[in-house]
């Protein structure tokens, strides 16, 4: 009897050792990165590039799929969060996702995720080439004269570009007729067809059209001007409107996230590989030629940045009257 007990004990011991050893190894199968915004947009391309480099190091596939929709990408986030928290399901997110809570699409706080931030591209406000406005001041004067008459396109309400537009309206005391689009690319297309005359998206998303003369940049929505190849310097909007500094800049933070309850060793492996991927020449060259600033934040630093963004976005939306849920009910601290 004793012998059997010992044997059984040994058997269990060996088995548990095996399973522990297996747990250590990550990844053993393909990873799915669900981007919560549409294909071809900034978050999508960024995640595809980084996932591709990480897949090379991991030696497994990282399938990048898109699940856009909801508020602040809530449908994609809810989908990923409902899958096993084993590190094989990532959510390709951006700063705009922090608005999902106050817009009624996400009932948790943003600290339930751990982030891996790649970086972002600053926002620029542009007009169609045939628009009569030569600089930001002229556009603002025209918007002031007839509030709500100038059509401005940006991605879905609650997106960073919409927030930039709202902040610009608030800071300069004007009102546009905001037309929402499923993403930045359709908003820019709408500007080319003449459906809207003003468009707010990031420099990375607009650079092709600006350089081809299909869109005319008026001002950067950041404190610094921006120099673009073939175009020259785009001035900062803070120069004619210093009051904007109260609301802007609202910078992009694109990357991906895993639920915070994913095992620590898995998160560490992902973070290591993530940093290695960002250090490759492929990513660096890509960032340069696409007007991105790389961040590379992970762990605590990344979480802090997103919590800051969450409180800023949630309360800005609430103040601007664009939020459905009071951030207080979600216990989001004031910025």
């Amino acid at each position: 009897m004793k012998k059997y007990c010992l044997l059984a004990f040994l058997f269990v011991f060996v088995l548990s050792g095996l399973s522990l050893a297996q747990e250590k190894k990550f990844p053993v199968r393909d990873i799915t990165n669900t981007v919560v915004w549409a294909a071809g947009g900034g978050t999508d391309v960024c995640n595809r590039i980084v996932s591709g480099e990480m897949a090379k190091i991991f030696k497994v596939n990282i399938n990048v799929i898109n699940k856009p929709g909801g508020v602040g990408g809530s449908i994609g986030m809810n989908d990923v969060y409902s899958r096993p928290h084993d590190g094989y399901a990532w959510a390709g997110v951006s700063e705009s996702c922090v608005t999902a809570g106050v817009q009624g699409g996400w009932d948790k706080r943003m600290y339930v995720w751990d982030y891996f931030i790649v970086g972002g591209s600053p926002d620029v406000i542009s007009v169609t080439p045939n628009a009569p406005y030569k600089d930001l001041k002229e556009l603002m004067e025209a918007a002031k004269a007839k509030p709500g008459s100038i059509r401005a396109g940006a991605s879905a309400s609650g997106s960073i570009h919409h927030l930039n537009l709202l902040a610009l309206e608030k800071g300069a005391g004007v009102k546009f007729n905001y037309i929402p689009y499923p993403g930045s690319a359709p908003a820019q297309t709408a500007a080319m067809t003449g459906e809207v005359s003003v468009v707010v998206t990031s420099v990375a998303e607009q650079q092709q059209l600006i350089r081809a003369g299909k869109l005319r940049p008026l001002a950067m929505l950041t404190p610094q001007p921006f120099t673009m190849k073939d175009v020259g310097a785009i001035p900062s909007s803070f120069v004619p409107y210093p009051g904007l500094s109260k609301y802007l800049p609202i910078m992009q933070a694109i990357g991906f996230a895993v639920p915070a309850t994913v095992p620590e060793n898995v998160k560490e492996t992902i973070a290591d590989t993530f940093k290695k991927a960002l250090a490759t020449d492929t990513i660096k060259n890509w960032a340069d030629s696409n007007y991105y600033t790389l961040s590379g934040k992970t762990g605590k630093a990344a979480k802090e940045e997103f919590e800051k963004l969450e409180s800023l976005f949630a309360w800005t939306l609430w103040e601007l009257g664009a939020a459905k849920v009071n951030p207080e009910t979600l216990k989001i601290p004031k910025p």
Binding site: A39, V45, G69, P182, T189, T193, L209
Partner: protein, 507 residues
């Protein structure tokens, strides 16, 4: 000079690609994989291109484009296998092919039907490629004529035309089915203000109904029930002759092919709508122009030829605005856009300056892909027809299993199965009452586009309906829809008959 340079580029790329064994393996591999993706219910061209996109990250841009375009061309063509052999279209783009392809298979002409689809898909892709090569800049401006106003009419037109073509006894039944699809499409959070509609608090419904489970449920389940209920055996495979199509049939339908190819390219160039609408419009035009419209739906060659030419010609069309403006012309082209961005090629007006050879390379690859599709198609079709020899009691449960896997595989959500089954049962009863199913699926696909664009258009015009009638393209679309509606009503037909009778009397 520029044109000569382009032609030179084209031959150089074709030559170097065709004489590189790796490229040839990649090309045929991805085309065959594409055909399988297309033929399987639930795996669509969009999904196939999307899945392959990440795999191409490590390889050169040229090889990546070979893989992705091969997949795209193969999948759009492969959809016809399911349509013809089992009356379950593998992709939405092949739904129109089932209209005449399946009756042909029932007559024992599955082999000939597959041969015709292979040839017409090949010709369609080639025509699309030709337009991409020659008229790209002109067609690109067409894409910019479409704003929210036009998109609404276009989506509505798509639903109406598939409804008008499929009604067996009464045309209204097709439209009713289309409107049911449109209604189903409204489920979920709306895309402009995110208000939940008809979700009944079920969070899975927030994102709306997914197209794939609806497609599989609506086409697959009624067909399976019917075959098992009636002990139908599909076609007599013994009669199966050759897959290589008789040139006679092709040359007889040359006008249909040219017309459908032009329609396909035009529709492909318009952003947002793709192969499915191209197939339906081509089918409709072929029926309108035919001397025997009553034969359509009963196994007419022109029916199969028109939709397969149309949906494959759409590929070249969809790539035009993608490369010249950075606006993808169809859902799989959206995936291509992502793939190009990964390879650091940003499509758009600057493309021809930053990567001067790129467009020509794409044309050359599309050229090779259509050849690869033709060759693989002829070989595969021969084998696929043998599937029909399997007795239905064994075959149908296998199809059912594939349907279930297809619905689940996309997003691995069990909820999709809960969606597929009720839709299938609804579709079965609708079909028993003579309501066609295809418009319902088209309604679900195009519904969100119609809804979103109508409301966005009204935001742009600040509540005024006037731009719907003052914008030229919108007005044309509106008049076409009205004419389509009136010309199908019994009242108009009586009126027309009366006029004709009066004219003849006077003579």
């Amino acid at each position: 000079m520029l044109i000569l340079e382009r032609i030179w580029d084209f031959y150089v790329t074709v030559f170097f690609t065709a004489f590189n064994i790796e490229n040839i393996i990649l090309l045929f591999g991805s085309v065959i994989l594409g055909i399988i993706f297309g033929a399987m219910p639930g795996l669509t061209a969009t999904l196939g291109v999307g899945l392959l996109t990440t795999l191409t990250y490590g390889i050169s841009t040229n090889a990546a484009m070979i893989t992705l375009l091969g997949m795209y061309v193969g999948a759009v063509y492969g959809g016809s296998y399911g349509s013809i052999c089992v009356n379950i279209p593998g992709t939405a783009a092949a739904a129109a092919t089932a209209m005449d392809g399946y009756p042909l298979a029932c007559k024992g002409e599955a082999g000939r039907a597959l041969g015709l689809t292979t040839t017409s898909s090949f010709i369609g892709t080639m025509v699309g490629m030709f337009f991409l090569a020659v008229f790209a800049p002109i067609i690109a401006t067409l894409a910019l004529q479409f704003t929210s106003f036009e998109f609404f009419f276009l989506a509505f037109f798509g639903i109406m035309i598939s409804g008008g073509l499929t009604g067996q006894d009464l045309v209204y039944k097709g439209w009713i089915s289309g409107l049911i699809g449109l209604f189903l499409a409204l489920i979920g959070r709306d895309h402009l203000q995110f208000f939940p509609r008809f979700t009944f608090g079920i969070s899975e419904l927030d994102g709306g109904l997914e197209v794939v489970p609806v497609l599989i449920g609506a086409f697959g389940i009624p067909q399976i029930i019917q075959v098992i209920r009636d002990q139908l055996s599909i076609g007599e495979a013994k009669k199966f002759q050759r897959v290589l199509p008789e040139l006679k049939i092709i040359s007889k339908h040359i006008t249909t092919i040219v017309r459908s190819a032009l329609i396909g390219v035009g529709i492909g160039a318009v952003p947002g709508i793709g192969e499915d609408i191209a197939a339906w419009v081509s089918y409709g035009a072929a029926k309108k122009a035919s001397k025997h419209p009553e034969n359509f739906g009963k196994g007419e060659y022109a029916g199969v030829i028109s939709c397969e030419t149309g949906n494959n010609a759409c590929i070249g069309g969809a790539i035009i605005p993608l490369l010249t403006l950075g606006i993808p012309g169809s859902p799989p082209a959206v995936m291509l856009l992502g793939a190009l961005m990964i390879h650091n090629v940003t499509p758009g007006p600057m493309l021809s300056i930053e990567h001067p050879h790129f467009i020509t390379e794409m044309i050359a690859i599309l050229f090779l892909a259509s050849f690869a599709m033709f060759i693989s198609g002829i070989f595969l079709a021969k084998q696929v027809v043998k599937v029909l020899r399997i007795p239905p009691p064994i075959f149908m449960p296998v199809v059912l299993t594939l349907c279930v896997i297809g619905s689940y595989a996309l997003g691995t959500k069990v909820f999709n199965l809960y969606l597929m089954v009720p839709v299938g049962i609804l579709a079965y009863f609708m079909q028993s009452m003579g309501y066609p199913i295809a418009p319902l699926v088209i309604g679900v696909i195009l519904g969100p586009m119609a809804d979103e664009n109508l409301r966005r258009a009204l935001m742009v015009s600040q509540g005024s309906f006037l731009p719907f009638f003052t914008r030229p393209v919108a007005l044309i679309l509106f008049l076409v829809i009205v004419w389509m509606f009136i010309s199908q009503t019994p009242f108009y037909k009586r009126f027309l008959g009366g006029v004709k009778a009066r004219i003849f009397k006077q003579e």
